[in-house]
Symmetry: C2
Subunit: 290 residues, 2 copies
């Protein structure tokens, strides 16, 4: 291994400390703390863990977490009413509806109902449009965290060749928009791309966000590249056990890259940090302090 490890846990921890300081400053100026409402419908075990982690992170940063747990048989109309209530609640700066939602609820309708100015997940079409057109808005937490990690090892991205593998609305596309905003030459590759290894090999900055375990091999990586691995895939390891791997074959890629994120401990920890940052930013805007 020759690549430097990009320690997302450490970057996220120092970011969260800085956010906590900024939250304290905000509270002193605004006379109130920022508030994040987290809505959980049903009792999906993984979702419950995520929501608990978010609540703990809010508490540690001095952000008020408003938790709303609704039964699994909640109707779409009832959930919509909750969202509209949170839109109108001045103590709530950010609203996060934990996905997935039960099958009787149209998630896209719920997400569209969240006020764009409280959409700290950045999933609303209005925020996607603000990002695309260079207006201030909210950017999805995962690509925003990736950009922080990239900048931690490569502060000047102007003219760099960036390749994003994956074109989801919540990672690939906003990631491409952010890298374009940083003056990279940006390529979006995906399942239809003809020669994915060759396209990947162009990249000074390679972001993999496809959800396919260890798809990106060592010979897909340009020597000296920065590699950001968004994938979190659980695969079988020794008999009867499993382990987490990314979309990148870590051992191979780290022999070639200049810097690389591990899985776990790379992109993952950044997501909650960016959620806190977005919530603080929402509070500043609502208070006229942005």
């Amino acid at each position: 291994m020759s690549a430097a490890l990009i320690d997302g846990k450490a970057v996220a921890a120092s970011l969260r400390e800085r956010i906590a300081d900024d939250v304290a400053d905000f509270a002193a100026s605004a006379g109130r703390v920022p508030g994040l409402a987290v809505v959980l419908v049903g009792d999906d075990a993984a979702s419950a863990v995520y929501v608990r982690n978010k609540a703990a992170a809010c508490a540690a940063a001095g952000i008020a977490g408003h938790e709303h747990r609704l039964p699994a048989d909640t109707s779409e109309e009832a959930l919509l009413a909750v969202v509209l209530g949170l839109n109108a609640d001045p103590s709530v700066d950010g609203i996060l509806v934990q996905l997935p939602l039960p099958p009787q609820i149209d998630a896209s309708r719920i997400l569209a109902a969240i006020s764009a100015d409280k959409d700290v997940d950045g999933f609303h079409a209005t925020n996607a449009g603000r990002l695309a057109t260079g207006l201030p808005g909210f950017v999805p937490c995962t690509p925003l965290g990736c950009l922080h990690l990239i900048r931690s090892v490569g502060p000047d991205l102007r003219g760099a060749e960036a390749v994003v593998i994956g074109r989801s609305n919540i990672v690939g596309k906003p990631m491409a928009a952010l890298l374009l905003g940083a003056d990279c030459t940006v390529t979006i590759a995906h399942s239809r791309t003809r020669d994915l290894p060759e396209v990947a090999r162009r990249a000074d900055i390679l972001v993999a966000a496809v959800g396919r375990p260890e798809m990106v091999r060592g010979d897909w990586v340009k020597p000296g590249a920065i590699v950001i691995d968004v994938g979190i895939n659980r695969i079988a390891s020794t008999p009867g056990r499993t382990k987490l791997v990314g979309d990148v074959h870590f051992a191979e890629a780290s022999a070639v890259a200049r810097a690389i994120t591990p899985v776990p401990g790379g992109v993952g920890p950044m997501t909650i940090a960016m959620l806190l940052a977005n919530t603080l930013e929402a509070a500043r805007r609502h208070a006229g302090l942005a």
Copy 2:
């Protein structure tokens, strides 16, 4: 010259005929014709020509053109009031505010005030977001016209390498989003791109939208590529005369490309045709017929 000429004038003419038929069908179903409001502030000569051309194209297609001419010293508030009135007018399906606006008016504030559902120019952030996230909305007319021209010579774009030079909100970025939606591998290049000729040479589909006369030379073009030239630049020709050229060196590129748009007569004529198409689409949606 070996490349096939992509005749935008002919493609646009046949499209406009089809739109006229569809407008007649719409009128028969909805009991009214689609309406496009065009707002012109001041007396910029070029703008007056554009507005006249749009009005004539509407009339030929059976679309009612509502022209609003306001004096050059119109205040932002007065123009805003006109826009809000048009938003509320059920006979108006599309609203187009001709740019540029006089200096006392903040164009971004005016464009943001147009109802996203009447924004047939596709300039509103909400429509940019809808395009980015794959929701139905309105796409800016120029890149939409380019996609039509590309499809006229290369109907199946899946897996093709597309390179867009230029990253404006009204051409480059939406063009990239459209090509991504057509399953191309898409690269956005721009003034900060390190080796623009090399990046351009990757392209099976090359779109130039930078506003620099004849910047794209023959050796930037991959043999067999489809070349779309969005630029319209007036340069000096013989002493005392001028001529229009694109962003592509036509003579050189047409020796290498498989198909290429001329300037004039390529992308230009498509823009008004797409404006009519967007206005008809808006009318269908407003009438619940989409």
